[in-house]
């Protein structure tokens, strides 16, 4: 459905240096599929998500939706955004503190003049009598998001809701437009542990009931394991490994994925990577992971690691990995991990 091809996004950093936040990414989200995009902080996950929604313009590469490339004219974007919706990490921040739940959910339909057929109501003019069924629209979105009975929430302000409820309101706001794809950027990161499960269940349910596709951006591998069909691991602006969740998370191929999984508390041995998180303004030559790669650090790396860049992984469902060592010396990898 939604596909990114050779996507790059650069930012002008300080002192003229350019930060390549997204540096060649191929990624697709199929119909009814939940894809998890995982990676550490600053690797470009959010930038990728925003670019997919047209909120950021790619420096190169393109985004296609249902096969048609995304156009950046105001009208095209607006139409596109009826289909693809965004849910952000911070549900409190995503709601205007001066809007009630009702207004927050109705905002999308009003922008898109929904329901439009039988009324001439001017979008954005709150005072003009809105169509009778706007309320129905809002109510149905709220109940689909699990806020029942919806009328009870209409007049609440965000600060009168709990974190989980707020996130549901945000999701309801997206659902009110009947989108096909939902991009969720760390949807539960700021929620309490006990509440997050509920939101994740909601996403799964929406996928099952409405056939919604979703791209879930997260740094939490457990979350990916919880809900994703497919996982893409991102490192420094590139996807370094992708494939079905079971494959990637139980049998990681890339040393980076391996390290990530190893630091989970329950994992038997830890591979704690040294060094600071990478800087997108100074992308290393060769394999971009090589300065921190535990294999290279142990002297098990290939000479190509520091010199030869790796090809960009194609978008696709099959397991893929971008590593010079992948498949070459698996035994060495696992033994050195201990």
């Amino acid at each position: 459905m939604l596909e990114a091809t050779d996507l790059s996004v650069e930012f002008a950093g300080r002192g003229g240096r350019r930060a390549r936040a997204v540096d060649g990414v191929n990624l697709s989200v199929g119909a009814g599929e939940i894809v998890a995009l995982v990676g550490e902080s600053g690797c470009g996950k959010t930038t990728l998500a925003r670019t997919l929604l047209g909120l950021e313009r790619p420096t190169s590469g393109r985004i296609t939706y249902d096969g048609t490339p995304l156009s950046y004219t105001g009208r095209a974007l607006k139409a596109f955004r009826r289909q693809v919706q965004l849910v952000l990490q911070d549900p409190m921040g995503s709601l205007n503190p001066r809007q009630t739940v009702y207004e927050a959910v109705a905002e999308g339909p009003r922008i898109h003049r929904l329901p439009s057929r039988n009324t001439a109501a001017v979008a954005g003019s709150e005072v003009a009598a809105a169509p009778v069924d706007e309320e129905a629209l809002v109510a149905s979105a709220l109940s689909r998001a699990g806020l029942r009975p919806p009328e009870r929430f209409f007049h609440r302000f965000p600060h009168q809701l709990s974190g989980g409820q707020r996130q549901r309101v945000v999701i309801a706001g997206a659902l009110a437009l009947d989108p096909k794809v939902l991009i969720a950027d760390e949807p539960v990161a700021s929620l309490d542990a006990s509440v997050r499960g509920e939101i994740l269940s909601l996403l799964l349910r929406l996928r099952d009931d409405l056939g919604l596709s979703a791209l879930v951006v997260t740094h939490d591998l457990g979350l990916a394991w919880n809900i994703a069909d497919r996982v893409a691991v991102m490192y420094l602006g590139r996807i370094v490994e992708s494939g079905p969740t079971e494959d990637v998370l139980t049998d990681p191929q890339h040393p980076y994925t391996q390290a990530l999984l190893s630091v989970l508390p329950e994992s038997p041995q830890r591979i704690v990577l040294t060094g600071e998180p990478p800087d997108p303004t100074r992308i290393p030559t060769g394999c971009r992971f090589h300065p921190r790669c535990q294999l290279v650090a142990q002297g098990n790396g290939a000479p190509a690691c520091s010199t030869q860049p790796l090809p960009i992984l194609p978008a696709g469902a099959s397991p893929q990995v971008a590593c010079h060592m992948a498949g070459v010396d698996q035994t060495a990898v696992s033994s050195s991990g201990s």
Binding site: S41, D192, A193, G197, N226, I227, T250, V263, V272
Partner: protein, 320 residues
């Protein structure tokens, strides 16, 4: 070495002068805990359950709007009734704190070396060159080059800053370190680095640790014993190994799935309902509205911690 007896913290908000009734927020409601020397205790619980309030109460750092009850015995001395002068002497030299937000816990306009040395100077443990040497030593202990002493906080990454906070906490060689969510804001990999460091340091120096987090799996990994809070109360205390007994603890544990565990695959679990509002706590067991196994009696009777084996839980279902 640290004993909490029926510790309670109530925040008074609202303007009493304006004639409005003061709204009280009972953030901590009778917490009793004991921490032996050299022991690592984890305190878990979701947001707003009163974890930080407990931590701040230990050194009487709460704002003036907070009313503290009960006793906090630190080496047998009650912190809550100490003279201010004595209290200042105890602070940091007996117990130090590593706060959650490392970026805010450091003063942005002062060099980190000065900030690390400050407790040394305040407590007259070292001065001048000796303090400088100690700062260098501390920085090396937490794996930072000594020249970093001249850096400002913003020049450091989050992980480094948290290391500085840890170095600072170690400055006066306290017997107890309180770590309030020391890794929450950090990245996965950095979090692992910091936890490894803490684990190693307390082991090396034989320091007691009170670590606060909402992530049960992290605590289980770090601590000998775990305490779980809900709505200002302890609901469960016990060794970190072994299964939880209280339904809330269980739910909390289930919220962090084990990767590779087929049971949690495509089956996220959590608790229905909302976390309680400390100002409007439900009667009876505060957890009963969300409890998947609640009995009718739960709505009316509050259950104190019940000991069962090596752990204690506040639930009727946990037998004597």
């Amino acid at each position: 070495m640290l004993t909490l007896e029926e510790l309670s913290v109530t925040y008074r908000i609202g303007d009493t002068r304006a004639g409005r009734a003061a709204d009280d927020v009972p953030a901590v409601r009778g917490v009793s805990l004991e921490l032996a020397a050299g022991e690592a205790l984890g305190l878990a619980g979701e947001s707003g359950s009163g974890k930080s309030s407990v931590a701040l109460a230990l050194l009487r750092l709460l704002p003036r709007s907070a009313v503290v009850g009960g006793r906090v015995l630190l080496d047998g001395e009650d912190v809550l009734t100490m003279k201010w002068g004595r209290l200042r002497a105890v602070r940091w030299s007996s117990a130090s704190i590593v706060f959650q937000g490392a970026q805010h816990g450091l003063n942005p306009v002062r060099r980190i070396g000065d900030q690390i040395a400050e407790p040394l100077l305040v407590h007259r443990l070292a001065s001048g060159a000796a303090a400088e040497a100690r700062v260098r030593e501390l920085l090396e202990q937490v794996g930072l080059p000594a020249w970093r002493a001249r850096s400002y906080p913003h020049e450091l990454s989050g992980g480094q800053r948290q290391r500085v906070m840890i170095a600072m906490a170690l400055a006066c060689s306290p017997q107890l370190i309180i770590a309030d969510e020391p890794t929450t804001a950090l990245d996965l990999m950095v979090q692992a680095q910091v936890l490894t460091l803490i684990r190693q340091l307390i082991a090396d120096h034989g320091i007691s640790l009170l670590m606060i987090s909402h992530d049960l799996s992290v605590l289980a990994d770090m601590c000998d014993r775990l305490a779980v809070m809900y709505a200002g109360r302890l609901v469960e205390v016990g060794p970190s190994a072994g299964k939880f007994r209280h339904p809330y603890s269980q739910a909390l544990a289930a919220a962090f799935p084990t990767v590779g565990d087929p049971a949690s695959r495509l089956a996220p679990r959590g608790l229905a309902g909302d976390p309680p509002d400390p100002q409007e706590l439900p009667g009876g067991c505060a957890f009963h509205p969300r409890c998947p196994v609640a009995l009718e009696s739960c709505a009316s009777t509050d259950v104190p911690l019940r000991v069962s084996g090596d752990r204690a839980a506040a639930c009727v279902l946990v037998g004597e």
